[in-house]
């Protein structure tokens, strides 16, 4: 820190100071008065659920979004003009390593590192390759690395690619200055790769820079960072907790927030007869998975990314082709391995799959609520020559009422609804078919408290009417209030089955204990692809 000059004002002790930063899209406020300070040579973690505002914050810092007036961003005591201009951010030493690293595979290391920085000869406008390579070698040397600079990036191992991305990020840093934001950059790395990655990050910090690390891997955040900030619903819940005084479970509770437990548990609706029986399911990491699900029973699948919980739920829902296995639903036996050109046979057997990504997998944004809601049944309830209007109108009206969709307009375009109402339409699309097996993937993700309440009530009602329900979720709060039992997955196997009176804490502990520090390298490499 010796390279640091005089500290004349308070701000100057911070490498980055974000004050009162807000961002609204129309009426929706996605960031509200965010405060964040990062000291020189600090490794600062930023965690939060999907949709909590992490990526919005990064996009403001990199100039993609213009923040609402009133906020400020200060680097080393110098205020940055808002909206942030990318070149100003670079000059101030702010750089980002994105999730996919932002590398162009079929270009060489030096071309990737110098991308958008090429200097050209004054008259010839040719790139001065020698000088470029010297700069790249210099940046790599700061990390203690040496590569053949002409090698194509695509040929490198994942951790070497990460190293190239880091070299690119630090090349503009002044000695003893700079801040790198890592936005989920470790997703593609193996366990060994991660160790090396964090070695490089340490080196960056020893060189005087600071790091803001955004990650879903809580244990990694706990292990590596100095302090951590938790975002929830666009607001800072805890700013800069010293990491040594917390753990992954405590952070999860902060991320989810106590407010999620708005429901009491109610008695099970499980009956004696079976809704579905799954035999020998094999998909992704999962193998030999069996399940007997009773009518009216609600079972939760949970686990960290890559654990197989999602893969199992998707295979049962018919969304993913499995390697092996079959299942029996109400007398129909379905092969889980058949090619999934369409889920027609699953739907006919009474299986409904409520997908996680509602606008990519669940609903067509440009079409109406009514059309989206009735889509799975237009063939079975209509004739070849005519869909028929009355049942569509009745079904849509019933679901709009049951789930309290707003506005209650069957002809509204789905894309014009709020996220919570879209989720309700998606749920209604499948509930209206009265499924005997209902598979839901993150049913309350990124919806507000009110919508969550309606969704939970509707799921309970479906169980009460006799559907067997599977909920694949990482939201311990949801699982605790809804499920009769929760299966915790790890490495493709069920490592714990929780029954009885469930609490979110138990589920979180089981998830993290099952995963623990001894997670296998293979498991970690799968994460990027498995979700």
């Amino acid at each position: 820190m010796s390279a640091f000059v005089t500290v004349s004002q308070d701000d100057a002790v911070h490498r980055l100071k974000v004050a009162n930063l807000s961002k609204s899209f129309g009426v929706a406020r996605v960031l509200g008065g965010v405060e964040l300070t990062i000291a020189p040579r600090e490794l600062h973690g930023l965690v939060g659920q999907n949709g909590c505002g992490k990526s919005t914050l990064v996009k403001i810092l990199t100039g993609v979004y213009t923040p609402d007036p009133g906020g400020s961003v200060t680097v080393d005591g110098q205020p940055l003009a808002l909206p942030v201009h990318p070149l100003a951010a670079r000059a101030a030493g702010l750089s980002v390593v994105h999730q996919n690293l932002g590398l162009v595979d079929d270009h060489s290391i030096w071309e990737n590192v110098r991308l958008a920085r090429y200097s050209a000869g004054r008259f010839s406008r040719r790139i001065n390759v020698k000088e470029e390579k010297r700069q790249v070698a210099l940046a790599l040397a700061r990390l203690g690395l040496e590569y053949d600079l002409d090698e194509k990036v695509g040929a490198l191992a994942a951790e070497d690619r990460a190293a190239v991305a880091i070299a690119r990020a630090i090349q503009d840093h002044q000695d003893g200055g700079g801040l790198i934001i890592f936005d989920e950059s470790t997703r593609a790395l193996s366990r060994r790769g991660r160790a090396r990655f964090f070695g490089l990050v340490r080196q960056v910090i020893d060189g005087g820079a600071s790091v803001l690390m955004i990650s879903h891997q809580l244990e990694e955040v706990v292990e590596a960072t100095d302090r951590v900030t938790v975002l929830r619903d666009g607001e800072v819940v805890e700013g800069g907790i010293t990491t040594s005084e917390t753990d992954a479970a405590a952070l999860t509770r902060l991320m989810l927030g106590r407010h999620v437990i708005t429901h009491g548990r109610i008695g099970s609706h499980a009956r004696d007869s079976l809704a579905v029986s799954v035999n020998g399911l094999a998909a992704r990491s999962v193998s030999g998975f069996d399940l007997d699900l009773k009518k009216g029973e609600i079972v939760g699948f949970t686990g960290l990314a890559g654990s197989g919980a999602v893969a199992a739920a998707e295979a049962i829902g018919g969304a993913r082709e499995a390697r092996g296995g079959s299942m029996t639903v109400g007398g129909t036996t379905l092969r889980l391995t058949s090619k999934r050109g369409s889920t027609e046979d699953f739907i006919r057997a009474g299986v409904a799959f409520v997908a996680e990504r509602r606008l990519e997998q669940g609903l067509a944004a440009g079409l109406s609520v009514s059309h989206n809601l009735t889509l799975p049944r237009v063939r079975s309830r209509g004739s070849v020559l005519r869909i028929g209007r009355s049942w569509q109108a009745a079904e849509t009206a019933a679901m709009i009422k049951k789930l309290d969709v707003r506005p209650p307009d069957p002809d509204a375009l789905v894309g014009n609804l709020s996220g919570g109402n879209q989720q309700k339409v998606l749920l209604g699309k499948w509930l209206a078919g009265k499924p005997s097996v209902l598979v839901l993937h993150e049913p309350t993700q990124a919806v507000d408290v009110g919508a969550r309440h309606d969704i939970i009530e509707a799921i309970r009602e479906a169980a009460h009417e006799g559907a067997g329900v599977i909920i694949s979720s990482v939201d311990a709060g949801d699982l605790a209030v809804l499920c009769d039992r929760v299966l915790v997955f790890r490495g493709g196997r069920v490592t714990a089955e929780l029954t009885g009176d469930l609490s979110p804490d138990d589920i979180i502990h089981a998830t993290f204990e099952a995963a623990g520090p001894q997670r296998s390298a293979a498991e970690l490499t799968r994460k990027g692809v498995d979700r």
């Binding site: 018919g318 969304a319 999934r340 050109g341 369409s342 889920t343 027609e344 699953f346 739907i347 006919r348 799959f353 997908a355 990519e360 997998q361 669940g362 609903l363 067509a364 944004a365 440009g366 079409l367 109406s368 009514s370 059309h371 889509l375 799975p376 237009v378 063939r379 209509g382 070849v384 020559l385 005519r386 869909i387 209007r389 009355s390 049942w391 109108a393 009745a394 079904e395 849509t396 009206a397 019933a398 679901m399 709009i400 009422k401 049951k402 209650p408 069957p410 002809d411 375009l413 894309g415 014009n416 699309k429 209206a432 009265k434």
Partner: protein, 337 residues
């Protein structure tokens, strides 16, 4: 209308608006008929400026009696563009190919005209199958496949016709196109029936609903039990069928075909299909809008030609309208998403 309604609380839900027939978003009520308004204005302008020539029965017979080939080709393009294949460039070439082999088989090879007509349509269907196979099953880019097929077919058509106009179809065969009904050739009514049928399929049948959803999102459709690839493949096949049938009817009317008249169809087809997205169902490809767009374009060009403007007018008008129509359609689409 049975179980779902009863299972929800007995109180009758908000009246489910059965009166409105067409599934059209309300918010564009104004823009929906804007092009029709412009069309009417255009007619008034020509009426005032060329009263003796424009507002006459023969003029209207020319405008409405001449567009059958384009109606069939736009319907073929709509098939694939509605299910989300961005542009099938081969439509006019498939049309031209079928229109070439019909007289070639009859005149040069002595086939019976009906057999030749069926062979021409089957050829067009087969080409649709090839397009569909390459795009849907193999996954080759639509533009590349259809660009190649377009050029390939043009070449073969020139070869088998020796680059000449092949004429000499029996005049009795022309009845299938030229029989007069109410002052217009029956081929006009084929076009009306085709587009009306197409619109019916899209609005009222499960197949049409599935097509719309496949065009909007393949993954959403797949997870909703729609056989996505079958619908995409089928669209290419039907597109071939429509282009082939259109070619047979048009060739019957004229009695001959020259391969040089194939390619000039490309721009009007695209201009009408994209202009159609600004009519009736704003932001969406739709048959009725396309049909109206087609006659709008023809009216505009016919009027300009009456004013003594030459052939370049056609290119300027079609090209200009295509760009403007796509711009409008993009803006409408942005407003809804």
């Amino acid at each position: 209308m049975t179980d779902t309604a009863q299972q929800a609380t007995p109180a009758p839900a908000a009246p489910p608006l059965p009166k409105r027939k067409l599934p059209i978003p309300l918010q564009h009520a104004g823009s929906r008929y804007a092009v029709i308004g412009v069309w009417a204005a255009l007619i008034v302008v020509y009426w005032v400026t060329e009263p003796s020539l424009f507002m006459t029965v023969p003029s209207f017979q020319t405008i409405f009696g001449s567009q059958q080939p384009l109606v069939f080709m736009t319907a073929a393009l709509l098939c694939t563009i509605i299910v989300g294949e961005f542009v099938d460039l081969s439509v006019p070439a498939v049309y031209g190919f079928a229109a070439t082999i019909l007289p070639v088989l009859v005149v040069n090879h002595g086939w019976p005209v009906w057999a030749a007509a069926i062979a021409a349509v089957l050829c067009a269907v087969a080409i649709g199958c090839v397009n569909g196979f390459l795009v849907v099953k193999v996954g080759v880019n639509t533009v590349v496949v259809t660009l190649g097929v377009w050029t390939l077919l043009d070449g073969i058509a020139q070869l088998i016709s020796s680059d000449n106009t092949i004429s000499g179809l029996p005049s009795s065969f022309s009845k299938i196109a030229l029989t007069q009904v109410g002052g217009l050739p029956i081929s006009f009514y084929y076009g009306v029936a085709l587009m009306a049928g197409f619109a019916y399929v899209l609005w009222f049948t499960p197949l049409g609903r599935h097509m719309r959803f496949v065009g909007a999102s393949r993954e959403v459709s797949r997870l909703s039990g729609v056989r996505v690839d079958r619908i995409r493949f089928g669209s290419f096949v039907v597109a071939g069928l429509l282009a082939g049938a259109g070619a047979v009817i048009a060739t019957a009317a004229v009695g001959s075909y020259n391969t040089a008249s194939t390619d000039p169809n490309l721009l009007p087809v695209f201009a009408a299909v994209f202009l159609g997205t600004a009519i009736i169902e704003p932001g969406r490809f739709n048959p009725i809008g396309t049909f109206i767009g087609l006659y709008f374009l023809e009216t505009g060009i016919f009027g300009l030609q009456l004013h003594g403007l030459q052939n370049w007018v056609t290119d300027v008008f079609y090209g200009g309208v295509l760009v403007i129509a796509v711009t409008i359609s993009t803006l409408l689409h942005r407003r809804t998403s």
